[in-house]
């Protein structure tokens, strides 16, 4: 990261190579369109390149920081679109539509970690996992979710909090799940 602060393109490329797949996966899950997902990832990484000095290691790993930028960019992109234009996907079959590269050991390890997190999410009551997915992956505000589900805003917030708290109990320290 020190090299990135100094505008070192090679250092940036290392970070890109490490995190681009995860970034694209998140963006595609949120945007449901390949072109839009690519635009989101491109914007996010260029933003990261131009503002590398803002990274604070006390706030989490480079991966967390990077994916946080991607998440914010994707939310911006989604909120610029109307609800009608959106296509919220559940991720099923995506791997068949966009072939993944040959799996490496690291990718296998990450796959196990991903399964653990997915399991924690799936173990939640459906009413809790749904609001978390609509908010985090769908980019919807709690007000939009309340309107969509015809449920009071306070209930939506409560379900979000309960769901996240349960996932935290299931995962222990989530930061340790993802090395």
């Amino acid at each position: 990261m020190q090299l990135l602060y100094r505008g070192n393109a090679a250092a940036f490329e290392v970070i890109y190579d490490r995190h681009a797949d995860a970034a694209f996966s998140l963006a595609y899950r949120m945007c449901a369109q390949r072109a839009l997902a690519e635009d989101v990832v491109q914007e996010a990484f260029l933003s990261l390149w131009r503002s590398g000095a803002r990274y604070d290691r006390n706030r989490g790993s480079v991966r967390t920081w990077t994916l946080g930028i991607v998440h914010n960019r994707a939310i911006d992109a989604l909120r610029r679109r109307t609800v009608r234009e959106r296509g919220i996907v559940d991720g099923e079959g995506i791997e068949e539509r966009i072939p993944a590269r040959e799996r490496t050991e690291l990718e296998f390890a990450r796959k196990d970690e991903a399964r653990e997190i997915r399991d924690a999410l799936e173990q939640l009551p459906e009413e809790q996992s749904r609001v978390i997915e609509l908010a985090y992956f769908g980019g919807l505000t709690h007000v939009q979710i309340a309107s969509m589900l015809d449920i009071p805003v306070g209930t939506i917030k409560g379900r979000m909090r309960l769901g996240l708290a349960k996932m935290r109990m299931t995962l222990g320290d989530p930061a340790e799940v993802l090395q």
């Binding site: 505008g7 393109a9 940036f12 490329e13 890109y16 190579d17 681009a20 797949d21 995860a22 970034a23 694209f24 998140l26 595609y28 899950r29 390949r34 072109a35 635009d39 990832v41 491109q42 260029l46 390149w49 131009r50 994916l67 991607v70 998440h71 914010n72 991720g91 995506i94 791997e95 966009i98 993944a100 990718e107 990450r110 796959k111 970690e113 991903a114 997190i117 997915r118 999410l121 978390i132 908010a135 985090y136 980019g139 505000t141 709690h142 306070g154 917030k157 979000m160 909090r161 309960l162 769901g163 996240l164 708290a165 349960k166 935290r168 995962l171 320290d173 989530p174 930061a175 799940v177």
Partner: protein, 234 residues
């Protein structure tokens, strides 16, 4: 850790979950950030919940980022790094970066382009000094659309359906007053859909044309190819 350790209390902390999920409205988000500065309960709640939100991206099926995406990102990064380097005096650097101009015939390429394409002034809005004039630029790429917005002595290019710059090349913006085109700091690539918004650095007083050429990564000091975009301002 159990749920009670999250210090939830009525009226306080209820925005922590939507905050970490990115589900607050813009106004609520701004207000909550202010609130966080003075509320230890909410800070604890956020700290506990954001560690969960941070791992949610791992729950999605993992895909491979397209190679062409990396090419686009790295082309821009290398251009900007090169530009940054070129503004810092490094012994021997200038000589190694010098490129032979191959824009044969000076502006003959522009003339040929102009003979084929017709510039159109699209909009002149308002009548005061704050008005925006929009000019449609001449573009060589079939189907591409480029306009130039002129406001307050500055110009901005809006590109749509523009083809990708060739491998190891970026687009570079030039301005032409009298004499040869002058390079600007504006080096760019377009998105996967061919769109881009590019501010032309500096004031445009006296500028007759804005040109765009494809240049080797890092840009050039003189054009090395014929323009792909020409906007006549005068």
């Amino acid at each position: 850790m159990n749920e009670n350790e999250l210090h939830h209390s009525p009226g306080c902390g209820e925005d922590a979950a939507p905050y970490v999920l990115g589900a607050l409205t813009e106004e609520e988000h701004a207000a909550f950030l202010v609130h966080l500065r003075s509320c230890a309960i909410c800070r604890d709640e956020v700290a506990a919940l954001e560690s969960v939100a941070a791992v949610l991206p791992a729950a999605v099926p993992q895909l491979s980022a397209p190679d062409e995406l990396k090419h686009r990102v790295m082309a821009t990064v290398r251009s900007e790094a090169s530009l940054r380097d070129s503004t810092q005096p490094v012994p021997g650097r200038r000589a190694s970066r010098a490129r032979r101009p191959v824009w044969r015939g000076g502006l003959a390429g522009v003339g040929a382009l102009a003979a084929v394409l017709i510039a159109v002034v699209l909009v002149v809005s308002g009548g005061s000094g704050g008005s925006t004039r929009v000019i449609r630029a001449q573009v060589t790429a079939p189907g591409a659309y480029v306009s130039v917005s002129l406001n307050g002595g500055h110009a901005q290019l809006e590109l749509a359906r523009m083809p990708q710059s060739p491998p190891n090349h970026v687009y570079e913006v030039w301005i032409k007053r009298a004499g040869a085109p002058q390079p600007t700091d504006a080096l760019f690539t377009v998105s996967s859909t061919g769109s881009a918004t590019v501010g032309v650095p500096g004031a445009i007083s006296g500028v007759k044309q804005i040109l765009v050429t494809a240049e080797p990564t890092g840009g050039s000091k003189v054009p090395t190819s014929t323009p792909v975009i020409v906007a006549n301002l005068s």
